[in-house]
């Protein structure tokens, strides 16, 4: 059965304790793999924040992730700028700036853009960026940028392993708490209300577009941070990081974990990446088909994701859907609506 409203905080605390203690007993590879998951969790959080909190369907988070990765990789390899205090904030800044410019174009202005338009436009931008990077030989073209050195932190190399792990964990916790705080603040309430009924919030005197724009820009910044960390941790940046692959990955993590719950986004990363690591080589050519099947089943039968199975409905926010767009075209036999839960109490 689903737990009470206290289940989520309990899960969060338990997860943090585990995340702090586990690396002390795990092997080097397991720690490195977990670090990768923490970094991808930042990417998942960024999408979850944009979509689950802001109601902005950003189908192109890969653009900001890849941008952050390229910024960090190029700084480290071309400008010898390996200081984590400089390169990683700059990666984040790049994501933030580009997302705020792109988001301003998409979300501000007299006419609000439709949900589907934002989805397709962000996806197309991510795809275009991938193709541009692949063809641009000055930044490595298809081969991307490799041989990224270890980042330095106060004079010492930060190698993949426990040190990097705890840095990534600290950043993840910080972003998680910031997003959690924002979603429960006045700011978050306006967004939640806008997800529920945008015109009513408008009538109350709130202009929701700037709120959404801010969410989109912050999400872009976090995706850039994630990409910057990834470039240092994996040692390379390539065109695929900018593209459709990364963008859909971000969506799928959140979808599997549970939209709008932050914790679900992180859980989705862990479940999907562990499944891929353990199963992909074993099932080889059948694995992508199995993965597609699992995703389809989750979308059809677990609309609230895996976390929806453990968190009570009362802990979730009201439903959100693009009701005005297609009200007349809804067949009678279907009455569900786009459900986007939220952890806000």
């Amino acid at each position: 059965m689903r737990g009470s409203a206290r289940t989520l905080p309990a899960i969060e605390v338990l997860a943090l304790l585990l995340a702090t203690a586990l690396p002390l007993i795990l092997s080097q590879f397991q720690v490195i793999f977990l670090t990768r998951l923490l970094i991808l969790s930042l990417l998942a959080l960024s999408f979850d924040f944009a979509w689950g909190q802001g109601g902005v369907f950003s189908f192109g988070q890969g653009l900001f992730f890849g941008l952050g990765a390229y910024v960090a990789a190029l700084l480290a390899t071309r400008a010898d700028m390996t200081s984590a205090f400089v390169a990683i904030p700059l990666a984040m800044l790049a994501g933030l700036v580009v997302a705020s410019l792109f988001g301003g174009f998409l979300l501000l202005g007299r006419r609000p853009a439709s949900l589907i338009y934002i989805g397709m436009a962000t996806l197309a931008a991510s795809y275009a960026a991938q193709r541009l990077a692949a063809g641009w030989s000055k930044i490595g073209g298809q081969n991307g940028v490799s041989g990224v050195p270890f980042p330095t932190l106060g004079g010492a190399d930060l190698e993949p392993g426990r040190g990097f792990y705890y840095v990534a964990l600290a950043l993840l916790v910080a972003v998680y708490l910031a997003f959690r705080y924002l979603s429960r603040s006045q700011f978050g309430l306006v967004l939640a209300a806008a997800r529920d009924n945008e015109s009513r919030v408008g009538a109350l005197g709130y202009r929701t577009a700037p709120y959404k724009w801010l969410v989109f820009a912050l999400a872009g910044g976090v995706a850039g941070l994630s990409g910057g960390l990834s470039a240092f941790h994996e040692g390379f940046a390539g065109p695929n990081l900018l593209g459709v692959l990364t963008s859909t990955q971000a969506v799928l993590y959140v979808l599997v974990g549970g939209v709008g719950t932050l914790a679900g986004a992180v859980g989705g990363v862990f479940v999907m990446e562990y499944a891929s690591l353990e199963l992909s080589t074993r099932f080889a050519s059948a694995w992508p088909v199995i993965l597609g099947g699992i995703l389809l089943l989750v979308i059809m039968f677990l609309p609230n994701g895996l976390i929806g199975a453990v968190i009570s409905d009362r802990a979730r926010m009201p439903t959100f859907g693009d009701r005005r767009a297609k009200p007349k075209r809804v067949p009678v036999d279907v009455s569900e609506e786009e459900t986007v839960g939220s952890a806000s109490a």
Binding site: F29, G144, P160, G163, Y165, G235, F236, G238, S280, S285
Partner: protein
């Protein structure tokens, strides 16, 4: 949050760490008795006892699966052969197979796993240059493990610990272009290409050789990797009086390109097409008539005369009927050659100690292999191998010329 004492992980050298864990493992396994011997002989990453660990990291799924599966099959075949004959230095070889899924970020994770968790002695794999660039970080730069890259590529990979067993531009272009010009009397070349690193580098070499042989390059054009319409460049080729189209457009675009070139009547008016990645896998990507007369230059074709090559091919086809084909373009020949060269090196070194193996691998030789004998050119990290020119005729290749052993001319000071 972050405890700074963890930031100094590097204070313990990774090799020391591995050596210690390997020693510990050996110690435990042997009940303590072998401690001294382990200490004296010093094995590779896999330690001194038990199987030798070989990492095979290739694209079993995704766009490059047709090649990755062939590479994995080939590795299995070579290892089974070695194991059946009693193994290497009396030890069996165990394969750790990982799928990089035609995706660089997946490749990096799997590479890390092979190094950090499985402690393999050697990794063979990677097909595209972008994959090699991505995985060489965790494998070599950070992992300090020996890595064999088996695919034909643009060259210029001179990182110590990386050995390349496939052909490079000097081998595919240097003897081939003059031969083609002499045979067909061609003077004017056109170079339509996909826009990535390999075509750029290869075309640079082609331009050099063509000019040096008294020919000229009428045009060199680059298209996005998945461009599908080439009628404009075909029209340019037709109107410029080009004799040879040296094409580096890749699948899927190569299909419409060759069809459009054929329908424009380029071959009918006496033009020749050269495409140096065309192997048996590419035979059914274009209608046979559209690639009639196409020249390719590779280290192996299934129709070459060499009896040992035929033996390998038969063994492969018996072991993996109906699976991915054993060809040069999929890097299967490079995997075979690379592993056999490594086997020879380990035998010469008499241990798996990395510095000894590397020293021996640097000049390793094999008397037989796909396409014939091969050897590493000392100090160049690349292999000297036999090259063949073949021409497509009604859906198969006929061998036009055995060029003999060709030097890679890579990683040489002062020579590009």
């Amino acid at each position: 949050m972050a405890d700074t004492s963890f930031l100094s992980d590097h204070s313990m050298d990774r090799r020391t760490f591995l050596r210690r864990s390997a020693l510990l493992a050996g110690f435990v396994a042997a009940g303590g008795g072998s401690f001294l011997s382990a200490c004296s002989s010093g094995g590779g990453a896999s330690g001194d006892k038990g199987p030798i660990k070989l990492g095979v990291l290739t694209d079993l799924t995704g766009a490059l699966a047709y090649a990755g599966v062939a590479d994995a099959n080939t590795a299995k075949m070579v290892v089974d052969e070695i194991n059946a004959k009693g193994g290497l230095l009396g030890r069996q070889i165990q394969i750790f197979l990982e799928d990089s899924a035609s995706t660089e970020s997946v490749g990096v994770t799997k590479a890390t796993k092979l190094i950090q968790q499985d402690h393999v002695d050697l990794v063979v794999g990677g097909i595209t240059s972008s994959m090699r660039q991505a995985i060489k970080g965790p494998l070599v730069e950070r992992g300090k493990t020996l890595y064999i890259y088996p695919q034909l590529y643009e060259g210029k990979e001179c990182t110590p610990l990386i050995y390349c067993s496939g052909p490079v531009p000097a081998q595919q272009v240097d003897p081939f272009i003059p031969w083609l010009m002499q045979k067909t009397g061609a003077k004017k070349f056109y170079l339509p290409s996909a826009d990535y690193v390999w075509p750029h580098t290869l075309n640079g070499r082609v331009r050099q050789v063509v000019t040096a042989s008294g020919g000229q390059v009428a045009g060199e054009e680059y298209f996005p990797i998945d461009a599908t319409d080439y009628s404009t460049v075909v029209n340019k080729i037709m109107s410029s009086g080009t004799d040879v189209v040296f094409v580096t457009v890749i699948p899927p675009g190569i299909t419409p390109f060759l069809q459009q070139l054929y329908t424009a009547g380029f071959t009918k008016r006496g033009g020749s097409v050269a495409c140096v990645y065309f192997d048996e896998n590419l035979l059914n990507i274009v209608p046979a008539q559209s690639m009639e007369g196409l020249y390719s230059c590779l280290d192996f074709f299934q129709n070459i005369e060499d009896p040992f090559s035929k033996q390998i091919l038969d063994a492969y086809n018996t072991k993996f009927p109906g699976s991915a084909k054993f060809t040069a373009g999929s890097a299967a020949t490079g995997v075979y050659r690379g592993l056999k060269l490594w086997e020879a090196a380990v035998k010469e070194a008499g241990s798996l100690k990395q510095q000894d193996v590397v020293k021996a691998l640097d000049h390793a030789k094999i008397a037989e292999g796909p396409g014939g004998p091969a050897e590493m050119v000392p100090g160049q990290n690349h292999a000297r191998m036999n090259m063949y020119i073949a021409q497509a005729h009604s859906g198969s290749y006929t061998i036009e010329k055995n060029l003999g052993a060709i030097d890679p001319k890579e990683c040489v000071q002062g020579v590009k």
